[in-house]
């Protein structure tokens, strides 16, 4: 059963009465990379956590292609991935544990994935001693190994150096090529231009624009989007 089109209708999240998501309406197709842009506090990370099933929305509906939400088909990579106190190979195969894959098969699949993300020579190293960029690649590979249909990336390259960003972006493109829908947040407008097929612009917990990437940057429809691109977003939206 396909997850798409994924339709969000009037989705709200109001912890303690404060609207973090304030009536989000959004339709996502099953292909390509959608980048969610917006100022700090716009609700980007909460939106991704809601789609991942980590946060139950306060209101509204999520329609997963007319079917039920399949948690095994949705994966998420966080801004600061957590590495277990174990080897790189153990960490990359971690997502296969709840899927009932045996230890030997996990190891084989993990090695193949490490080859793909360029960490095969570090397989037996302590995962916590990898650099930030390597840990993020490992986190991506860990989720990719579970073959999600929708991959949610929450600022996966913040605080990485340019070469590490490039390596992560290469993997993101590879995952996309395999047919996984990617929804990611970033503050890096250059990265959005390089990766995105379409842009969702979020401000004050609402979707202000959802348009193809070229159109967003050349003809932003809303005043907020224009100001955001020019780095002049009013302070009350940024905090």
């Amino acid at each position: 059963m396909s997850l798409f089109p994924l339709q969000l209708r009037d989705v709200t999240f109001r912890p303690n009465g404060r609207a973090v998501l304030d009536g989000v309406d959004l339709t996502l197709s099953g292909e390509g990379i959608t980048v969610v842009l917006g100022p700090n506090g716009a609700g980007k990370s909460v939106l991704l956590r809601t789609l991942c099933g980590l946060i139950p929305p306060t209101g509204g509906t999520l329609d997963w292609g007319g079917g039920a939400f399949d948690p095994l088909a949705v994966g998420m990579v966080f801004q600061h991935p957590v590495m277990l106190r174990s080897s790189v190979i153990d960490n990359i195969a971690l997502g296969l544990v709840p899927r009932g894959v045996g230890a030997r098969e996990r190891r084989l699949a993990g090695m193949a994935m490490l080859q793909q993300i360029g960490l095969a020579d570090r397989a037996n190293d302590n995962a916590r001693q990898l650099s930030g960029g390597e840990q993020q690649r490992l986190a991506l590979g860990r989720v990719w190994l579970t073959r999600p249909r929708l991959l949610l990336l929450d600022e996966p390259t913040s605080s990485l150096d340019p070469s590490a960003v490039e390596a992560v972006e290469r993997i993101v493109r590879q995952i996309r090529t395999e047919g996984t829908k990617i929804l990611m947040t970033t503050h890096n407008l250059g990265q959005a231009t390089r990766l995105a097929d379409d842009i969702v612009f979020l401000a004050d917990g609402r979707v202000r624009e959802h348009v193809p990437v070229r159109r967003f940057f050349s003809q932003p429809a809303s005043a907020e989007a224009r100001q955001f691109i020019q780095g002049e977003l009013p302070w009350h939206l940024a905090f």
Binding site: R85, L94, P98
Partner: protein, 234 residues
């Protein structure tokens, strides 16, 4: 003072000669306490982890009870286990009273809450860091418990050591359910208590020295192992 020095001197002679009586008591102590800690580890650590990770009504109450049971008076445990194992008790038919098995049972009752309480705290701290990541990878509670127990293995060695320390130094419960029978259920702590009351200080001191040295060695060994392995995975 002279009698005190003489008692120490005689104690060291007993140890130097590997006195058969001392050796037998030491080995029995190790057997009983090791088995109790083994069972305590198998029960207490998963129990503590389940309390940390699980979401169920009465979770806080369960945590308070487990924490409270850390300080269970060993004589109370001894009496309860005695009543359970005595002829008219619910487990009387097994005929375990005044056997090493009864002592193991009493020690398990003592160490499980201690180990579970430490494990709960350690795993709960780790769980706060890993919760979202494991939930996003779709870990169920049992897989989460297994992964966290493995991940916290270095910190959990403290729980095992605490359990071993409690089991080996415990005297009240094993005295009641074991009966301190010579060549059957006499262990270091009960022998020390008995020999001191009899005035046979050299044997009591010799056993006391062995007990102290064993506990120090176990702690030092665990510390060294923990430091070495942590250096690799921290």
């Amino acid at each position: 003072m002279g009698g005190f020095s003489q008692a120490f001197a005689e104690a060291f002679v007993l140890l130097w000669r590997f006195d058969a009586q001392v050796l037998e008591i030491v080995l029995r102590s190790l057997q009983v306490s090791s088995l109790a800690v083994l069972i305590g580890t198998a029960v207490g650590l998963p129990l503590g982890a389940c309390l940390a990770v699980g979401q169920f009504p009465g979770k806080q109450t369960a945590a308070v009870i487990i924490n409270g049971f850390m300080g269970l008076p060993s004589v109370v445990v001894g009496v309860v286990v005695y009543l359970a194992l005595s002829r008219s008790g619910p487990m009387g038919e097994f005929g375990l009273l005044y056997t090493p098995s009864a002592m193991v049972i009493a020690q398990v009752v003592l160490v499980v809450p201690l180990m579970a309480a430490i494990a709960r705290q350690v795993v709960e701290d780790a769980w706060r860091n890993y919760q979202e990541e494991l939930a996003a990878l779709r870990f169920g509670w049992w897989d989460t418990v297994r992964v966290l127990l493995h991940d916290c293995r270095f910190s959990l060695s403290v729980a095992v050591l605490a359990g071993l320390g409690r089991a080996m130094s415990e005297v009240g419960a094993v005295m009641i359910v074991g009966g301190n029978i010579d060549r059957a259920t006499r262990v270091m702590t009960t022998a020390i208590a008995l020999e001191t009351s009899k005035g046979d200080l050299p044997l009591a001191i010799a056993l006391g020295i062995v007990l102290l040295v064993l506990i120090l060695l176990l702690n030092a060994g665990a510390f060294a192992l923990r430091t070495t392995v942590m250096r690799r995975f921290e």
